[in-house]
């Protein structure tokens, strides 16, 4: 992805094309932080350029844009998350405009309120578009700040201890994980950091790690004390999308009773469940074979999944910027970022 920020064009459609185009452009998947940032910028432009009278309009505008982008990059769940976050902020902004800042707004996740559901959304009809635009622009911008800070926050959660032997996967593709390890090294003296690579003898991992290939994991696991995995998306039940190959690592860890930690910044916490396993199978990378061979295997199916779905029970803890969370308690964080009404929408 050459430039993730939308260009300074002023035709919203152009921006949209560029955005979704950039999503599908890269040969290897861009790291999700970049995607998240790109999405935020995209949304900012939408809010700036699109026309909307009241909150409903705005939400619809956002939804259409969301639909469009996920149709072209169905596997980029992060885009979805960011959009939904933005929608929640929009609702809040709307409320703020309507009932003033300090007025207490009932938590939409309070069960009784959800039961209440007396459609008093009549308020939404009132035209607040103009007023919202300004405030919203600011609040959305805050997401960017939060995104940038998320790394530091995650790093501040110290889970590594003295003389740990840590096994990691996909360090080269996850800057967050790399950042985490680097800063951890500064404070703690670890025995060894093994970085697993899906290729054989590829040493692309950072220099302070010792590279092993995926097939060596089971053997290596015997002297590993902690496993650190990058997370692409966490689902409310605590299961997660992780780079393909993580599943077998997690199983190996489970067999040797080694705790598995997942690094999941807030924008990776999805409020919805993975539509069957498809969403994981869905993302397929290039076939990674020399053309000659590939062509002779043209009528065979070449598997190169991007993600594994790792069930909650294989994971010990998620390290998110708002703290270390048990998989079974992941759902708690959802309320902080999403509005239930947005989630009932079929996307």
């Amino acid at each position: 992805m050459a430039q993730v920020d939308a260009p300074a064009a002023h035709d919203i459609n152009e921006i949209r094309t560029t955005f979704v185009h950039n999503l599908a452009k890269g040969h290897t998947r861009e790291n999700s932080l970049k995607i998240a940032q790109a999405t935020v910028n995209y949304i900012r432009r939408i809010i700036a350029l699109e026309k909307y009278e009241n909150i409903e309009d705005l939400l619809n505008v956002l939804r259409t844009h969301l639909r469009y982008s996920i149709s072209l990059a169905p596997t980029e769940l992060v885009v979805r998350n960011i959009f939904l976050i933005a929608m929640k902020l929009a609702r809040e902004e709307n409320m703020r405009v309507l009932v003033g800042v300090d007025k207490e707004v009932g938590n939409p996740y309070d069960s009784l309120n959800t039961l209440w559901k007396a459609e008093e959304n009549s308020a939404n009809a009132s035209a607040t578009g103009k007023k919202m635009r300004k405030g919203l622009a600011a609040t959305i911008k805050e997401i960017l700040v939060e995104l940038d800070s998320s790394r530091e926050l995650i790093v501040s959660r110290a889970v590594l201890q003295l003389n740990d032997t840590v096994l990691t996967y996909g360090v080269s593709s996850s800057p967050t994980l790399r950042f985490f390890l680097e800063s951890a090294r500064r404070t703690i003296k670890m025995r060894q950091i093994l970085s697993v690579s899906s290729q054989l003898d590829d040493h692309s991992g950072p220099d302070f790690t010792s590279s092993i290939s995926l097939r060596d994991v089971a053997a290596a696991m015997t002297d590993v004390t902690k496993v650190l995995l990058p997370v692409s998306v966490v689902f409310p039940d605590g299961s997660a999308l992780m780079p393909a190959g993580s599943l077998s690592i997690a199983h190996a860890a489970a067999r040797h009773a080694v705790p598995v930690y997942g690094l999941a910044a807030f924008y990776k916490i999805a409020p919805y469940y993975s539509a069957d396993a498809a969403s994981a199978v869905n993302a397929q990378a290039g076939i990674g074979l020399p053309v000659k061979l590939a062509d002779s295997l043209r009528h065979r199916v070449i598997l190169s999944p991007v993600f594994d779905v790792v069930p909650a029970h294989l994971l010990s803890l998620y390290i998110s910027n708002s703290g270390a969370v048990l998989p079974s308690h992941m759902y708690r964080l959802i309320a902080d970022y999403y509005h239930p009404e947005d989630l009932t929408e079929e996307l």
């Binding site: 040969h27 149709s71 072209l72 009528h299």
Partner: protein
Amino acid sequence: FSCKMPPKEDAKNQDAQRLSAVIIAESFEPRFHPITSDKSFGDLAICDVRGIDYSLRWLSRCDIANVVIVVSEKHAPAYHSIESLWKGVFDCVTLVICQNAHSIGDALREVESRNILTGHFLLVPSPISFCSSTLENQIKAFKQRFKKDRNAVMSLIYSESRGDGTCVAINENGRMMAFHSQSDPSQLDSETNEFRATVTIRNDVVDTGIAICSLQALAHFSDNFDFQTRDEVIRHILVNEDIMLQYVNVDVLPSFESAISVFDYSGLIRSNSQLISRLFFPLFPFKCNKNVLINSGNVITSGRQRVRIDGWNSFVGENVSVGTNVFVTSSSIAKKCTLESNCRIVESIVSEGSVIGEGVSLDQVFISNNVIIPKGQILPKKVVIGPNVKLNGSIKVKEGSFISCTPPDEDIEDSVETEKLFDGVYSWIGKTGRDWWSGEWIGREDDDGDDKKDDNKEKEGEEAEDEEGEYDVERVFTSEVLDSLRPALTDKISQETARQIIVEINSSKIAYNISMDRVAALLFVAFLRMPDNNVFSNLKKRMDNYIQILRNYYSNRDGQLGLLEGLNEHLSSNRESFSPLVAKTIHHLYEKDILTEESILGWHEDLEKNDPMIPLVKELIEWLEESDEEDEDEEE
């Protein structure tokens, strides 16, 4: 169309300048006209997506500033939407609308006349061209070359393939020495046919058609108005190398990158299945507001509906109704199609709105829009069905034919034989071995009218299709060796001639890049082929005469095995005449110490039990084995 052009830059900092790309949105291939009818070739959908959209998508990954799309007047309207869709992605998308272009040549001339190209450009000769690579390195390399030497005017992008590709001679620094579009080195057309050691001949690569060109290359078209195809320009450059000092480079993509541009139906089918099996990743069937899902087995479905087909590596568009037990593999089914129960579709394309009847089986068939193939209709391979054709289920369709609702129009009618199947349905078949399915048609008439050459070229082409290209090379090689062997000679050949002969054989070896052991075999085949060798006395004499040659090639065991292999091949080709001579020949060679007993025995062991050779050499082998036993005993 408005467009902000980058300021004209002088050639000095051309290497800083980003490339433009020129896409020819039309196909000037007459065989495509009937199926594209009122649309441009670029509009032809692959997996429900316009072909040209893939090309543009690919280009957008490359470091391309401006895109120039050349389209004919009557197709222009459709392209304004394309322009607006993509102008966000490139600095600028320009439409060049030309009145009556009949070839790539004309199209490029048009572009040249507009002079909107300011520097190097990427020539995409077919609107349906995919590439998995961003060509970053190739472009860089080209720029560097050009900086050093302004005469490196063009570099052609080749990709590796399974030896069924172009055959090209390249020198040590990737410079093209000779070029031919059939995999038949004997027709490497180049005036300077000297093969230095530094020249390698590759027939394991295929021309993707994509080329990086400098403005000089473009100039050739405008200078010479009867150039139709890119290849003509290349030939022109090669031939006049010593006059113009210009040359062409060949850049072979790394083994993990693939590229293709479509010029015929086989290419179309191939590109389709390769695209689906992700050879051009990240290029992929994509569609706005329609979820494109990869289901297990790499069955790509578009839209929300859940189709249930057996098979894999296939694309199924939206609103396709599928019967039970439908098998689809390496094929794409466009939207609104109907597949009735038990039909079987392999390596085919079914375009929008067509109906495939119950139990119909398609293998390598292209089906255009709104075609109806009723139950019971049998279609052979390599058939193209034109738009709106309704078959009745019982008619005979010939392999390699084109089925249309209309008789051919004048621009093609003299090159096809037409047959009326029943009213409203005609079958076209290319004349004089012209294959509707694959091979070149365009620019041939203008070549130099030498039709015979063309035809056998065509045939070689087909053989290349059947991957017999190699065998073919060997045949030519053998005959050449046969000449070199000077069959006329009757008495013992002198040191001098021996040397010459060996040199000649070796040079042809290089020319056809034949492996050493094959040379060994083929040489002996050639040797046996020499006139009146069917009488042993002559043959014996010959063997004595050519003893030096034989010594030279059959000193080591492999060589000897090669010899015997050759003997085998010769036998298989003319059994009755040669079989009586086999044993004698081998024995004589043994006597002459050309063959050692071990190699003979070794060779004999490797023969299949039922090999016709076995009985012929039975005694000989026994005899050898005995003698072998003996000296083993001696050693005791």
